[in-house]
């Protein structure tokens, strides 16, 4: 027996009980509490618990607006959780700059995140000064419109294949007493719907000028005027929604009370929970059927720095668990989102998810507005849009001007 083997054997006997005895509790905060979301989180917890550690769930309902202050207070207060969800993008930028976040580069290199995470822009969003600070778990794309087949049948029109056909079908829908477009009252929903319309109707080049290059002239231009004109119509069509939460609005589509909703792919989880089948009960139109793209927003886990070395170790285990093939598949099937690695088998994916994967494979990818604008700018833009959406007296021209003024000062 040579010495290396002896050492290895010794290390193994020591290390094994060591790892088992120190099952570490790791508190994970997130805001995934709707039906489909909770089922997806359960998959993550199951996978992490299987490593001998324990996932302590810290769910805070009420979307990121409620949960984020709590997360930030906890981190700056010096009592950080083990891991926390953020939308990847610029939300955690400053926490990283201040050295409050754990550097994951080691795990990332060992497990070749650079090679497996696709598109690579996802990892770039986690990278700061060459170091990796977050583990992306899914790709969420806002670029979908969900249609209720039953609603269109009731109105006696064919299920539209793009925004313009939808527009043509609206009078028939209204006659049948169906709300053409469901948009919940929470302000991020009208902002998101608007962003989707911007890509579809102003065209990808104009969108890039405004959302990436922050070109105020483009935001004032005729291409964007089209978006605002369409938003004015959508405002009219959605005025009878009268619900607050996004999944209540989705539920209107599921039950056929509303014909359509512009919402990200997470809405799919709700259709699944309700037992509906893509293609049969509902139809999905990526990019409103006009410009078929996927925007790569999504969720990522960040790992605040811990004092306890055991916790840090557990954090690394969690980071690697989140990106394992099995977890990626199990989680994303439940969540309705697309896995971040390209080498997993998604045979069980449904119609809509396959459409998304196709578009992704073709490389029709755009960044999410969370990645291009700071939270501050996002918030200001959201103000303009939500106010426009709820105030019929604001003309599209006025709103366009306000919007462009903010783009001019954007950071």
């Amino acid at each position: 027996m040579n010495i290396r083997v002896t050492v290895a054997a010794f290390a193994a006997t020591v290390a094994l009980p060591f790892a088992a005895a120190h099952a570490t509790d790791l508190e994970v905060t997130h805001w995934w509490t709707s039906g489909g979301e909770a089922a997806a989180v359960a998959e993550l917890a199951k996978a992490f618990d299987a490593t001998g550690n324990k996932w302590v769930d810290g769910a805070i309902a009420g979307s990121g607006d409620v949960a984020r202050p709590i997360m930030i207070s906890r981190i700056t207060g010096g009592d950080p959780m083990g891991a926390t969800q953020f939308n990847h993008g610029r939300q955690a930028e400053e926490l990283i700059e201040n050295g409050l976040m754990q550097d994951l580069t080691e795990v990332a290199e060992k497990e070749h995140w650079k090679d497996i995470i696709r598109p690579s822009s996802l990892l770039d969003a986690c990278t700061k000064d060459g170091k990796i600070y977050c583990a992306p778990v899914n790709i969420h794309s806002w670029q979908w419109m969900w249609l209720s087949n039953a609603a269109f049948e009731k109105a006696g029109v064919a299920v539209p294949k793009d925004w313009y056909e939808f527009e043509a079908a609206v009078p028939a829908l209204q006659k049948a007493g169906i709300v053409p477009l469901a948009v919940g009252g929470q302000s991020w929903q009208s902002k998101g719907a608007f962003d989707v319309m911007a890509i579809a109707l102003a065209g990808i080049d104009t969108w890039k000028k405004v959302y990436i290059d922050k070109d105020a002239e483009a935001a004032r231009g005729p291409e964007f005027a089209k978006v605002w004109a369409a938003a004015a119509k959508a405002r009219e069509w959605s005025k009878d929604t009268k619900v607050q939460d996004w999944n209540q609005a989705t539920n209107m589509v599921i039950t056929g009370k509303a014909a359509a909703q512009i919402m990200g792919d997470w809405a799919q989880g709700e259709f699944q929970v309700a037992g509906q089948t893509a293609g049969k009960d509902y139809t999905c139109l990526p990019g409103l059927g006009v410009n078929e793209v996927i925007s790569t927003g999504g969720d990522a886990f960040y790992f605040p720095k811990q004092k306890d070395a055991e916790k840090t170790k557990a954090q690394m285990v969690l980071a690697s668990t989140l990106l394992s093939k099995e977890t990626q598949v199990a989680f994303n099937l439940k969540k309705g989102s697309v896995p971040v690695r390209g080498d997993v088998d998604l045979a069980s994916a449904n119609d809509c998810m396959k459409k998304g994967l196709d578009i992704l494979a073709k490389g029709n990818i755009l960044p999410d507005s969370n990645q291009t604008f700071s939270p501050d700018t996002q918030n200001a833009l959201q103000d303009v849009i939500v106010q426009f959406w709820n105030t019929p007296s604001i003309t599209p021209e006025d709103a366009q001007k306000q919007f462009a003024d903010i783009v001019a000062q954007a950071d």
């Binding site: 508190e27 509490t33 909770a38 917890a45 309902a61 202050p69 207070s73 010096g78």
Partner: protein, 305 residues
């Protein structure tokens, strides 16, 4: 019986003032009871809606109107709210947070009242140079929105090394309860006969002696008021409960928020309402049982300031 009578009589220092009611159906009485009943209708309506809704099944809620009594009474929503409703992975409903709420409320109420009563006593009987300045700052502090103080508070607790602990949360509740409570105690102690204090001083009693042996026993009515205010405030607190603790200590309101805000497809209004009543049950019980002392205490404390 004699006991109840005595308490009835002692409800107020003076008793009601209106004229003795003569005939049951005088115009005056119709008007008084009419207004009172009308107001009572407005106050009771939401409770009625909550209770009725919590006893209905979802299909009935979707079809019927919210004011109609349940056709088929079900306790399912109550069971679900208490022990089954999910937030994230934890599907044990409100029961999860109940003891945490108790654990937070009891020490916070006791400590905040102890501190505030000493403040009030010192401000009423042992004024020193600057004491009014501190008190004024405190009263102004009552008007500062909690959101503004969130960040400084996080920093202060971090520097004290108690951020994220139960002790930290108790400090927060003590600090933010202090302005109103101190005002109440100060007014109360000021209203007590000055001779009591002077006589004790002549007998050689000091600051703590007078507080423990004379003032504290006399302060029971105002203690009840302070207790009611604090139990309500702390039990219902959501913001501090989540910001200054960790999930092991999350109070019931966090679960309530999670149940109410995490919708699984359709909003389960019946479960929401049951959860609402269950969460409010403790302060409600405190009110039902001590409402009369409440008025009596305020009468003693706030009136003669």
């Amino acid at each position: 019986m004699a006991d109840t009578l005595r308490i009835e009589g002692a409800v107020t220092p003076e008793g009601p003032h209106g004229r003795k009611p003569r005939r049951a159906l005088s115009r005056r009485n119709i008007m008084i009871y009419g207004v009172l009943l009308l107001a009572a209708f407005y106050y009771i309506l939401p409770l009625y809606v909550m209770v009725v809704t919590s006893l209905k099944g979802m299909p009935e809620i979707r079809l019927g109107n919210i004011f109609s009594p349940p056709v088929e009474i079900t306790f399912e929503p109550w069971v679900k709210a208490w022990s089954e409703a999910c937030t994230g992975l934890n599907c044990d409903g409100l029961s999860r947070g109940f003891w945490n709420s108790v654990l937070i409320t009891v020490p916070s109420v006791l400590i905040s009242i102890a501190v505030a009563s000493i403040n009030g006593y010192a401000l009423a009987n042992w004024r020193f140079k600057g004491s009014d300045v501190f008190f004024t700052i405190l009263i102004v502090g009552a008007f500062i929105p909690y959101q503004v103080m969130l960040y400084p508070m996080v920093i202060i607790l971090r520097e004290l090394g108690i951020y994220g602990t139960l002790a930290g949360l108790i400090v927060v509740h003590t600090v933010f309860g202090m302005p109103i409570l101190t005002l109440l105690f100060r007014n109360y102690f000021t209203s007590l006969p000055e001779e009591l204090f002077k006589a004790a001083r002549v007998d050689g009693a000091g600051f703590w002696g007078i507080y423990l042996h004379i003032m504290l026993p006399m302060a029971v009515p105002i203690m009840v008021v302070a207790m009611i205010l604090q139990v309500t405030g702390i039990w219902n607190d959501f913001l501090f409960g989540v910001v200054f603790t960790r999930p092991d200590y999350y109070p019931m309101t966090v679960q309530l928020n999670n149940i109410v805000n995490s919708v699984q497809g359709v909003k389960e209004y019946n479960v929401n309402m049951a959860a609402t009543i269950l969460t409010g049950a403790v302060p409600l019980a405190v009110y039902f049982f001590s409402g009369r002392y409440f008025v009596r205490g305020i009468a003693a404390g706030a009136v003669k300031g």
